[in-house]
């Protein structure tokens, strides 16, 4: 991060600015102009600052300047128990908190060597797929808004609101639910949950048709997105891109298919792949992904009644006892007290779990040292890695195209800076 010198922001000359920026980029030509885009620019989707080196309006070079939202999540988690650390993961990718929760919880469960019961796994799948749709809706709305298609934004947020209402129904909170817990769920889903989700499944396909009707064949949208920000599949792999950015370049790679977690190996779905590698390809990948998510939710809803009633692991050393037992059982009181003060102890070793979050591959690495607190937690967040490819994608394009490219990579700054 470039910091202002002294206590106040001093006025600096162009030469001084160049010297400062020189540590980030090499300026090739004296004729080129340096421009700072952000961190308050609305189309950078958060507090991202981009240093642009421009030749007229063409981008010669670009350096992302990040860290404005750095909150030290990884450091803070080392001082919290495994359960308490969960709440920090919600705040990283604030558009997909459920997916973050899942990645962390699966890593903790892997470290402990336990697995949650089938019902919990199905409910988790339903919720993360709903989360994927809601996250894609925000992406769709905002990235279309950047390209001056205002209407989609309003429609997309209407459906997202419905999903957030479902989250409020199950977790008590619209966004930062922390609903998944080690060994299962915080509580079972309420009775109305099934109706709400089924209703969503009924109306959502036609709504996706509506969005596509507004954008897919819209000549202005096509002009702004076709052949813009092209990256080949090989380059995308070299630059570590994941998610729709990788699949838009023709690489058939989805963690849900390749390394199935939860019950993804028991449901049928396709992985949308496009071969053009441009902004439009990433757009159509995500649009098709939403439909696939609906298919997954549908199958999970059908499997749910047969999955038993247990939504939590029957292990009092990991899962706190139900509130109702506290009045009758001394042991339950002891477990309850121990779990909420000291927490459970995880064995020594490393565990790494990758999941497919809406933005790409989300990896959680935990090193346990035998105590109740993790010795090291690390998150590989998809946005952080995808961001590094933006200079490659936007080389020799116009500033206006950069807006489309940032929108199409779907970055969330809370997740980049952590």
């Amino acid at each position: 991060m470039l910091a202002p010198s002294g206590d106040t922001v001093a006025e600096i000359t162009v030469e001084e600015l160049r010297a400062k920026m020189g540590t980030l980029m090499e300026i090739e030509d004296e004729e080129h102009m340096l421009l700072s885009m952000g961190p308050q620019h609305p189309s950078t989707h958060g507090v991202l600052r981009l240093l642009l080196e421009l030749d007229g309006e063409r981008i010669v070079n670009l350096a992302p300047d990040i860290g404005f939202l750095h909150t030290g999540v990884e450091k803070s988690m080392e001082s919290k128990t495994y359960t308490k650390g969960l709440v920090m993961t919600d705040r990283m990718d604030y558009l997909a908190p459920m997916s973050n929760n899942l990645g962390y919880i699966l890593a903790v469960e892997k470290l402990l060597g336990v697995e949650s019961p089938p019902r919990a796994q199905l409910i988790r799948m339903i919720l993360v797929e709903l989360q994927r749709i809601s996250s894609h809706l925000v992406w769709l709305g905002t990235s279309a808004l950047d390209l001056a298609a205002m209407t989609v934004f309003l429609y997309a947020f209407r459906e997202r609101e419905y999903i957030l209402d479902v989250f409020e129904m199950v977790a008590g909170q619209r966004m930062m639910g922390s609903y998944f817990r080690p060994g299962g769920l915080w509580r079972d889903v309420p009775e109305e949950f099934e109706d709400a989700v089924r209703q969503f499944l009924d109306f959502m396909p036609s709504r996706i048709d509506d969005y596509e009707g507004l954008l897919t064949n819209n000549p202005i949208f096509l002009k702004r997105t076709k052949d813009v920000g092209v990256i080949s599949g090989e380059d995308a792999i070299q630059w570590g891109m994941t998610g729709a950015c990788l699949r838009g370049s023709g690489v058939d790679w989805d963690i849900r298919k390749k390394f199935p977690y939860l019950k993804y190996d028991e449901v049928e779905f396709d992985v949308p792949v496009e071969h053009e590698g441009d902004v439009y390809a990433r757009y159509s990948c995500r649009m098709r992904e939403m439909r696939e998510s609906l298919r997954i939710i549908q199958q999970c809803m059908d499997m749910l009644p047969k999955a038993g009633k247990e939504f939590n692991l029957n292990d009092p050393k990991i899962v706190p006892p139900p509130r109702s037992t506290l009045g009758q059982s001394m042991e339950a009181v002891i477990h309850h007290f121990k779990l909420w003060t000291e927490g459970f102890k995880a064995p020594e070793g490393y565990a790494k779990v990758s999941i497919e979050s809406p933005r790409g591959e989300f990896m959680c690495y935990i090193r346990g040292d035998g105590s109740a607190k993790p010795a090291r937690v690390h998150f590989r967040t998809p946005s952080y890695v995808n961001l590094a490819a933006i200079p490659v994608l936007s080389k020799d394009l116009y500033v206006a195209d950069l807006i489309a490219i940032i929108g199409s990579t779907d970055i969330v700054l809370g997740e980049i800076d952590r």
């Binding site: 991060m1 470039l2 910091a3 202002p4 010198s5 002294g6 206590d7 540590t23 980030l24 990040i66 860290g67 750095h70 030290g72 990884e74 450091k75 803070s76 001082s79 892997k110 470290l111 060597g113 792999i237 070299q238 630059w239 570590g240 690489v251 790679w253 390749k258 390394f259 070793g349 490393y350 565990a351 790494k352 990758s354 591959e361 990896m363 690495y365 090193r367 090291r376 690390h378 590989r380 952080y384 890695v385 590094a388 490819a389 800076d417 952590r418």
Partner: protein
Amino acid sequence: MSQDDLVVSKIKEAFPEAVESTGDFRGELTVVVGQEFVHDICQLLRDDEDLQYNFIIDIVGDDMLPEYPRFAVSYHLRSMDNVHDFRLRTTVEDPDEGPKTVGDVWKIATWLEMEVYDLMGISFEGNNSQRRLFLPEDWVGHPLRKDYPLGYEEVQFSFNYDAIQGKKPYAGKKQIGDE
């Protein structure tokens, strides 16, 4: 031969002295190698026809205090064709003289190493873009190290506002302990 065994045997074959230990915890293969071999092993892993580790998922720095060597770096590698993940791990004795950069093997590695340098303070030989990434340019210390205090912010009331304001560690301000 399983993919796990294949990886280990290929590395052992090419670099007989490199492998210090191998571990398998919860179905994850970890290969611990000497720091000086990391770059060449990565090159081998990417280019070998049977291995083809063409994707680097992440580079993670670890502080193992009070153990010695104190630092460790884990490379999470993936072969997309063979659908296989594993962890290449190395211990680092002196964080100022860390392993050689693998930025020429996988382009993204430079960017991933920058994060390790900023937060954990392990520098990678040959990585020219090591700078403060998340933290302000003049920040002192590397927060993910175990000897770095967690820190907190004192609450300012009207009666002690100036006293606390005076000792707040703003970026760019001279702090106690600065040269």
